[in-house]
Amino acid sequence: MTIQALPALLQALPQDADYTRILPEIVLSLFGMAVMLLEPLLDEEKGQKILGLLALVGALFALAATWCMAQSPGLAFWSMVQVDGFSIFFHVLIIAIAAVVILSSYEYMAVQRIRGGEYYALILFGTVGMTLMSSAVELVLIFIALEISSISSYVLAGFRRNSASSTESSLKYFLLGSFATAFFLYGVALMFGATGATNIGQISHVLQSGPIPLLAYVAVAFMFVGLGFKVAAAPFHIWTPDVYEGAPAPIVGFMSTAPKAAAFAVLLRIVFVIDVHALFWIIWVSAALSMTLGNICALVQDNVKRLLAYSSIAHAGYLLVAFGAAPALGTSAAMFYAASYAAMNLGAFAIVSHFANVGERYVSLEDYEGLSRSSPLLAATLTVFLLSLIGIPMTGGFFAKFYVFSAAIKANLIGLTIIGVLNSGIGAYYYLRIIVMMYMREARKPVPATPPPFALRIALAACMAATLYLGLSPNLVLEYSQDSAQQLVQKNRPESPATTSAALPHRE
């Protein structure tokens, strides 16, 4: 290189702003590495807490970094990532989830006697992948990020490696996940083939500037299979119950919220930015199927984790309903839903993991009998989360559902809305079963109930606060999600200002 080439080279180097725009990821990675490096140096027993604390601090710093990131919206690294309201929203959400999971893992790790250096590091690294998914606008990066989040999840699912069920869940997750990833990848390849581009913006531009090639349809189909798998939408939901049942409880809380939120973020970009109308009916059917199958199967489950797994399928279905709606409304509804689902589901799983005890022995419904007596406050807290999952007013779950269905009805999706509301009615039953067990039955066998430790209390308080906040005063979050949804939809399609609801293929 000559000296003359230096200015050009300097220009070719990433700018400060580029780094700012991935600051949270950098922070997370650094802390992840710090945890990893620190682990061998610390005492086995006492070190756990310090590592966890470090990870938590990392997550909190990442949140702060997100704030920094939010100050400079725009593209970075040559159109690899885009910082906009949408990605900020998901950054905050995912990092917050990670923080809560870390908090609720302290006790779990101690009780299960799992050494935690890699555990916390994996959570942080996984978070990097997920946050990147939400801000990436390049399929390559999306793919890598997706893999980061997936692989860390595979490992985390198998973290109780002595337990047959945990390793099995890990294996199932891994095999099927890779299987689905291959589909996604094939979709990407076909999309590349159809448009010659791997950047979402470019793809969108190409597709909208002319007739959409047939290959693009197929490509979207493949990508949908991959992402549908990640978000556990029917008929690609089938792995969920097994994996959730076997995986460590806090990790299930994590898996059912953060990677899902990230995958939904990607799906939102693909559906609404690339804007393939043809997906409409697939989403319709998938949403209806997810809701119905999830709810129906959950009715007779006796394992709480499995039950919540099915419920998460159903919730994915509700969320998918938003995808059928008009872009701006649908996106904001989906964002809001993801957030409130995260709050309530994390809370529920935090309590489940607390009760699970050594070797996850107490996870069947029977074990929840009479819990309201032995630990009333925890039972009450869990009840609030369950009510939120049912969708009872004053909780975030109610609002989320309400908002999604409201968006759907606005798009005239009456059939889907009816299916949805009916499902939310039916779905109440199995959540109610847990409440019934806790409040309306007396314990028949002794289930050890210890008071929750401080960290878990913080985690629960955070989830509770979020659930109630979203249920009582959702204004701020709603407005934010609406603004960012508006940005997302508008910015990428300056040439088609009209919303697509009119252009959508024949809706009811």
């Binding site: 589909f183 349809y217 493949f222 798998f229 097994d242 199967c297 009715l299 039953y429």
Partner: protein
């Protein structure tokens, strides 16, 4: 224009008494209770007398508004009071007889533990009855109407530990409700078509309507429905069944409610609605027929009863039939006249019967009485007066009123008259039967009345047969006097009187029909009545006299037969009963009407409700459908979750199949 009479005081006074006794009676002394009860009832009577004294100076009908009750849009029903000749008569009868019976009760109930309760109920009854009588609209009348039913329920079931009493009370209430159903529908019709329930407004609206002669018109429907209500309250066919059972109540109650006042409410109501009935000849005919039939059937049942109170009860039903017959033929004033005299003599008979029962320690079966003439002379003599009055022996109150009814009935149709006449004969017969069985012959009861009886008298300190205390005898005497002289206020002109009573009520029942559209039948009668008042043709008078003779003859025949069977040869009745066992059994079992109702209405209804509605429809169909939906969902759930076989390859198979579908659909979309 009119002075303010404060009529509201009259019903409210007994109410206050009821409230005071009801709330504080439990802890008060008996004396205090007595004073309160008698004072408030007596005060009401005094007020009534005061009103009667000022009556002549009023312009009638006198109306008094008290307060709004219900208002809904244009419709309104108020607490208002309405006073005319008819209500004055009722007012005096109710308060007067009521007061007497209150006095009587003090003696009769003196040992009952629920003394305060009894007087509270009794006062409550007075309140409702007076409300009924004085009300200025149908709805307020309905308050009283239902209220007396309530009081009746409470008093019949006064000895609630006795199952039969409790059942009887319930039966009375429910049967009355059946009647009220008709009443209510009538009220709805009135509201719908006249927009009001006020007597004046309704009648003013009805007056221009010409009589309906054919078909079931509006007024006919209203009339018949009102009659249904009256049937319930006044124990007419087919709703009379409750009254005999009501004898489970204490005897003063039977006298007051189930003889003198409440049961006549139906008659009062029909008379009050005469403006409507006059325009609904079919409804009137229905009233007359029901009245006639009831009079006859009840009387026949009375022949075979052995319970002294039951005989009187059937007699009451029968006499009420007379009153309806009178109303049915348009002789409303005759009906009211009979109502009044009946209140006197039937009240007397019941009280006397109570005295008898009191005397022999609670026994009510006449077969176990006999020869009481000398032991309880006051009771005997007063009872005799009552019996003579009801049997229609000339000179006694019942004679005049019954005779008038029969005469008016004849003018409408000879059939009414004939049945009425036979009834009169039977009445005379069973009343004298009662008289002979109770007071003559040998005492057939156990010498020592130690047996447990249901009256409160079981704990009665004084054993042996004894005359009642003065407090009971005095009302008896007063009523006996009234039974003797009460009829002279309305001596028909044919018998030399000038029928003050009829004239007094004249302004109320005077023809309201528009002259040009008079119903021939009623019109004629009206004409004849008017003639009767003035210079009546000789022939009419002589015919009337002849009929009077015939009815007197019938009464005497009845007496004779009773004398023959129950005094002269007391074993004869048994033989007759054996000979005609079917007929006799039928009579003893009251034509099996109760059994019929039980078999046709009560049991099937309960079975239907239990088996079909509850067990089948509710549980096996509706609820099962709900539950099955739940179970169905669980079944589906159980099936569907087999998708989750646990096998990774199967899962991959689902994913592959699903993606094939997605791809296929997308290809189709792309091609399209």
């Amino acid at each position: 224009m009119n002075p303010n009479l404060n009529l509201w005081l009259i019903p409210v006074l007994p109410l206050a008494g009821a409230a005071i006794n009801g709330f504080f009676g439990k802890k008060s002394s008996r004396q205090a209770i007595t004073i309160v009860a008698l004072f408030f009832c007596g005060a009401a009577f005094a007020c009534a007398l005061w009103v009667a004294a000022r009556f002549s100076s009023l312009s009638l009908p006198y109306q008094e508004f008290f307060a709004h009750w219900i208002r809904s849009g244009p419709f309104s029903a108020d607490f208002s009071f309405y006073l005319d000749q008819l209500s004055l008569v009722m007012l005096l009868v109710v308060t007067g007889v009521g007061f007497l019976i209150h006095i009587y009760s003090v003696g009769y109930m003196c040992d009952d533990p629920g003394y305060y309760r009894f007087f509270s109920y009794l006062n409550l009854f007075m309140f409702f009855m007076l409300t009924l009588v004085l009300s200025g609209n149908y709805l307020q009348m309905f308050i009283g109407w239902e209220g007396v039913g309530l009081a009746s329920y409470l008093l019949i079931g006064y000895w609630f530990t006795k199952d039969s009493a409790a059942s009887a009370g319930k039966k009375a209430f429910i049967v009355n409700r059946v009647g009220d159903f008709g009443f209510l529908i009538a009220l709805f019709l009135l509201i719908k078509h006249f927009g009001s329930l006020n007597f004046t407004q309704v009648f003013d609206a009805v007056k221009p309507i010409s009589p309906e002669t054919a078909g079931v018109g509006l007024l006919t429907t209203i009339g018949i429905l009102l009659m249904v209500g009256a049937c319930g309250k006044s124990a007419q066919i087919p709703l009379y069944v409750w009254l005999p059972d009501a004898m489970e109540g204490p005897t003063p109650v039977s006298a007051l409610i189930h003889a003198a006042t409440m049961v006549t409410a139906g008659v009062y109501m029909v008379a009050r609605s005469h403006v409507i009935f006059e325009r609904a000849p079919i409804a009137l005919t229905v009233v007359a027929i029901i009245g006639t039939l009831t009079a006859f059937f009840a009387a026949t049942i009375g022949i075979a009863q052995t319970d002294i109170k039951r005989v009187l009860a059937y007699s009451t039903v029968s006499q009420l039939g007379y009153m309806f017959l009178a109303c049915g033929v348009g002789a409303f004033s005759a009906g009211i006249f009979h109502l009044m005299t009946h209140a006197f003599f039937k009240g007397l008979l019941f009280l006397a019967a109570g005295s008898v029962i009191h005397a022999i320690g609670g026994e009510q079966d006449m077969r176990k009485m006999g020869g009481l003439r000398t032991k309880i002379p006051w009771t005997f003599w007063t009872m005799t007066a009552g019996t003579l009055a009801i049997a229609g022996i000339p000179g006694f109150a019942g004679f005049f009123s019954k005779d008038e009814i029969l005469w008016k009935a004849y003018q409408a149709s000879w059939a009414y008259w004939l049945v009425g006449l036979i009834t009169a004969f039977i009445t005379s017969f069973y009343m004298f039967r009662l008289w002979f069985l109770t007071f003559f012959g040998q005492y057939r009861g156990e010498a020592d009345s130690t047996r447990a009886v249901h009256d409160a008298h079981s704990a009665h300190g004084h054993g042996g047969i004894h005359e009642s205390p003065k407090v009971m005898v005095i009302p008896l005497v007063i009523l006996a006097l009234l039974s003797v002289i009460g009829g002279y206020v309305g001596v028909p002109s044919s018998l030399g009187g000038n029928n003050h009573f009829d004239r007094f009520l004249g302004p109320v029942f005077g023809s309201t029909l528009p002259a040009e559209s008079q119903n021939p039948a009623i019109g004629e009668k009206r004409t004849s009545e008017r003639e009767t008042e003035g210079t009546e043709p000789k022939t009419e008078t002589s015919t009337e006299l002849m009929f009077t003779g015939i009815s007197v003859l019938a009464a005497l025949l009845g007496f004779g037969l009773a004398w023959l069977l129950y005094y002269r040869s007391p074993d004869l009745p048994d033989r007759i009963a054996a000979r005609f066992s079917v007929a006799y059994d039928t009579l003893v079992h009251k034509y099996y009407v109760d059994e019929f109702y039980a078999a046709v209405f009560v049991k099937p209804l309960i079975n239907f409700s239990t088996r079909i509605l509850w067990q089948d429809v509710d549980r096996k169909v509706i609820d099962a459908a709900v539950d099955d939906a739940g179970y169905g969902a669980e079944h589906v759930s159980d099936d569907v979750r087999h998708m989750q076989s646990g096998n990774i390859r199967s899962y991959a198979g689902w994913v592959a199949a699903g993606s094939a579908l997605v791809i296929a659909f997308m290809v189709w979309m792309g091609v399209r």
